[in-house]
């Protein structure tokens, strides 16, 4: 079908294209990516489903306002490189966002087609476009404005920092990114597993940023190796953006939480993703709890919990449970991830609350005492409050417990920079229009401001901050549409 001659009826007759995926039975035995991506034919078919609204609400549904209608139109016309250019005006990391954004709660949620049919698969198309560029051998790099002579330090190298660094570089500022770990990418590297976001993709997207002249320095813990005041002072930076994420895992505060075999999702995932512990004794010297034939329970219902439980299954767990105190409807994880987890044989113990971890005489975990819950009246969050069912306690035998109930804010930066104001929850307080903190020339965005949220919200905050920093530094407004 031709994009120019297709009728409205023909458009509506095209079914939403199903992305090919690795078979569930096969994929629990490997760490390769689950979803395999649309074919060019599928992408074009899917793009034809878009009716090109005059006033596209999907754009407002996107935290970085990608010109969704325009890039989809280019795909429909078969101009894939044109689509790459269009998307990169607003988002430099399409291969990443196409994979990990919760499109069903953003652009696709408001898609007009979705009112009667399934919404246009905007996320899958974004992913297609990003991957098309990566595999085409042609690199599309944005135009960089002439050097302004200004220098900006970006702290952390996760999604908020990368999107901020990208925009700042395009404005013509010199950007240096400081990362505490030995690898760049933040949560994209240590948190999100290979089977959901291959690390090679993150590395390739980082290479694109390097080509723009952005400098990256690993092994620098801002707040310890160097302070914010030193960056602005003797190091001569004109502004600083803090995008360090929410990296301080919460625990549940129940008895037995310090038994051997109870760990935070951050530790488990970092060992496996960043330190490659799944390849222990071969390409990695870092061990991880041996899950083979064991029972592993993950406590929590978010995307990180799904990542952890599916990782445990891939490491050979006999039973891999999700223990969540509300029902599936209240789970913060993406529907797609819950679906994938179920397909892979993850067992969901819903309306179940852990009361206490129990262990043997060597302090190794042997089980968790759980209590069944039922849903009562709605609470402050609008979700029905889980209420304990008396007398429903039982012991679930487990060998490893992974706590995945969220993260607080890391105190390293504000402890050493007292004039940066923080909230009661220790998140950095900013003016939401500019992302400026209480300290002159210091901006912040992403999870360190909002608490644990999504990759794309962090990227949106990074862009907002970049625009405000540029204005502050007297840079000219760049037309991001110019390539």
């Amino acid at each position: 079908m031709d994009a120019r001659t297709i009728t409205a009826k023909e458009r509506m007759a095209i079914p939403r294209q199903k992305m090919p995926a690795q078979d569930p039975v096969e994929r629990v035995g490997n760490f390769r990516e689950v979803n395999l991506g649309l074919t060019p034919e599928q992408a074009q078919q899917e793009a034809l489903r878009c009716i090109q609204c005059k006033d596209p609400v999907c754009i407002a549904g996107c935290p970085v306002n990608i010109k969704i209608d325009q890039f989809i139109k280019l795909i429909a016309e078969g101009d894939f490189m044109g689509a790459v250019r269009k998307i990169k005006e607003d988002n430099v990391l399409p291969s990443i966002c196409g994979r990990v954004c919760p499109q069903e709660d953003q652009c696709e949620k408001v898609c007009i087609i979705g009112k009667k049919h399934e919404p246009v698969a905007i996320g899958n198309l974004e992913r297609f476009v990003g991957d098309y560029e990566r595999t085409s051998g042609q690199k599309i790099d944005p135009k960089i404005a002439p050097p302004t002579g200004k220098k900006v330090a970006v702290v952390g190298s996760g999604p908020a920092s990368l999107s901020c660094a990208n925009d700042l570089a395009q404005y013509g500022h010199k950007v240096v990114v400081f990362e505490a770990l030995h690898e760049l990418g933040g949560v994209l590297m240590y948190g999100i597993p290979e089977f959901r976001l291959p690390k090679e993709i993150v590395r390739e997207e980082l290479d694109g940023l390097r080509r723009m002249g952005i400098e990256f320095r690993t092994d620098v813990v801002v707040g310890r190796t160097i302070t914010i005041d030193e960056l602005i002072g003797e190091e001569g930076f004109d502004a600083v953006f803090i995008g360090v994420g929410a990296g301080l895992p919460w625990f549940m505060g129940i008895p037995g939480e310090n038994l051997v075999g109870v760990l935070a999702a951050n530790e488990f995932l970092t060992r496996v993703n960043l330190m490659k512990a799944y390849d222990f004794l071969k390409s990695s010297d870092t061990p991880v709890f041996d899950c083979k034939g064991k029972n592993v329970a993950v406590f929590g219902g978010g995307n990180t919990a799904m990542d952890a439980v599916r990782t445990a299954k891939r490491l050979g767990a006999e039973h891999a449970y999700i223990v969540y105190r509300r029902s599936e409807k209240e789970m913060p994880a993406r529907a797609e991830e819950i679906h994938n987890a179920k397909e892979e044989g993850i067992e969901f113990l819903l309306l179940t609350t852990p009361l206490e971890f129990v262990g043997d005489d060597k302090a190794w975990l042997t089980g968790v005492k759980c209590q069944k819950m039922e849903l009562g009246e709605p609470d402050d969050s609008g979700r029905r409050r889980p209420v304990p069912v008396e007398g429903s306690e039982y012991i679930l035998p487990i060998d490893m417990a992974i706590i995945s109930i969220g993260n607080g804010s890391n105190p390293l930066i504000h402890q050493t920079t007292p004039d940066i104001e923080v909230s009661k929850r220790e998140t950095i307080v900013v003016d939401v229009n500019t992302m400026q903190t209480s300290k002159e020339n210091v901006y912040a965005g992403g999870d360190i401001v909002t608490g644990g949220a999504t990759v794309i919200l962090a990227m949106g905050a990074g862009r907002t901050a970049a625009a405000a920093i540029n204005e502050k530094l007297g840079g000219t407004a760049k037309n991001f549409n110019e390539w």
């Binding site: 505490a180 030995h182 092994d219 310890r224 990296g247 301080l248 310090n258 935070a264 970092t270 010297d285």
Partner: protein, 281 residues
């Protein structure tokens, strides 16, 4: 990459390295540590900074070959490089003029006790050091400790050098001598630190220990290094590594440090086997 400027064995299996890391050398304070990674496949290993030279831009670390990674580190020589050195991490030692301060180092723990002893001396304390080892060949930093001490004692378990006995016996002797002791710092194996805490507790002497929990990032992100102090969960990497010895749950620390003992042994055996093969070839 971070270049090793010098590498010398202080005792069998205990090696001292000076490594180029100018930013860390400038910043570090007593009690802080670095995390190093030997190569691309390497673990992240936390090691306390024993000393630094801001002029030369170097830091000193002392490592005992205890598992695969530390044995591999101890094969590195001057001129070699390691992939990563990050720091300084952890909260610096709380240093003030307490009056009379005793700094106790057990085994390779002396490497960690030394910089704090030096800082205590500089703050005006009357510093007594007790440097304990299993036997004479394993005594390290004897001259360095002496140089920062008003009184310096060596103890060996087998009596081959100095006082015959444990550091705790020497400590008890000093307490019994009627000396007013205001502060004790003890760094070494977990049973030693626990024993020191037990000795000082009845006298109410402020006692601090430096803990060595398992950790990955060292910045608070992984939560692996959590320790129980005063019944509360604390993170070794950011709240510590130094804590009030009388509040630390040493059993919990010892238990938690055993989580990977099976894997560590496997890695160590494989490494030893590979070394033998290399030697034969």
């Amino acid at each position: 990459m971070y270049r090793i400027v010098s590498a010398i064995f202080l005792a069998e299996n205990i090696k001292k390295f000076e490594i180029e890391a100018p930013r860390i050398a400038k910043k570090r304070k007593a009690g802080q540590f670095v995390i190093i990674r030997i190569d691309q496949n390497g673990e992240r290993i936390p090691l306390t900074i024993a000393d630094s030279d801001p002029e030369k831009g170097t830091i000193t670390i002392i490592a005992q070959g205890a598992g695969k990674s530390t044995r591999e580190l101890n094969r590195k020589e001057a001129g070699d490089s390691i992939a990563d050195v990050v720091g300084p991490l952890g909260t610096p030692s709380h240093i003030e003029n307490f009056g009379t301060a005793i700094s106790i180092g057990g085994g390779v723990g002396t490497a960690i006790a030394y910089p704090t002893a030096a800082a205590l001396k500089e703050a005006g304390n009357y510093v007594i050091t007790i440097n304990g080892a299993r036997s004479k060949d394993l005594v390290i930093l004897e001259d360095e400790m002496k140089a920062v001490s008003d009184e310096a004692y060596i103890t060996t378990d087998d009596g081959s050098y100095g006082f015959h006995g444990f550091v705790t016996q020497k400590l008890q002797e000093l307490i019994d001598s009627g000396k007013k002791i205001d502060f004790v710092l003890a760094i070494g194996p977990i049973p030693m630190m626990k024993a020191v805490a037990d000795v000082t507790r009845p006298y109410g002497i402020k006692t601090v220990v430096s803990l060595n929990p398992i950790m990955i990032d060292g910045t608070g992100m992984c939560g692996g290094c959590r320790v129980t102090v005063g019944g509360e969960i604390k993170f070794g990497c950011i709240d510590g590594p130094e804590f009030d010895a009388h509040q630390v749950d040493f059993k919990n620390l010892a238990d938690r440090n055993r989580i990977y003992q099976h894997e560590e042994k496997e890695a160590d055996d494989t490494f030893a086997h590979e070394c033998n093969l290399t030697r034969q070839a």
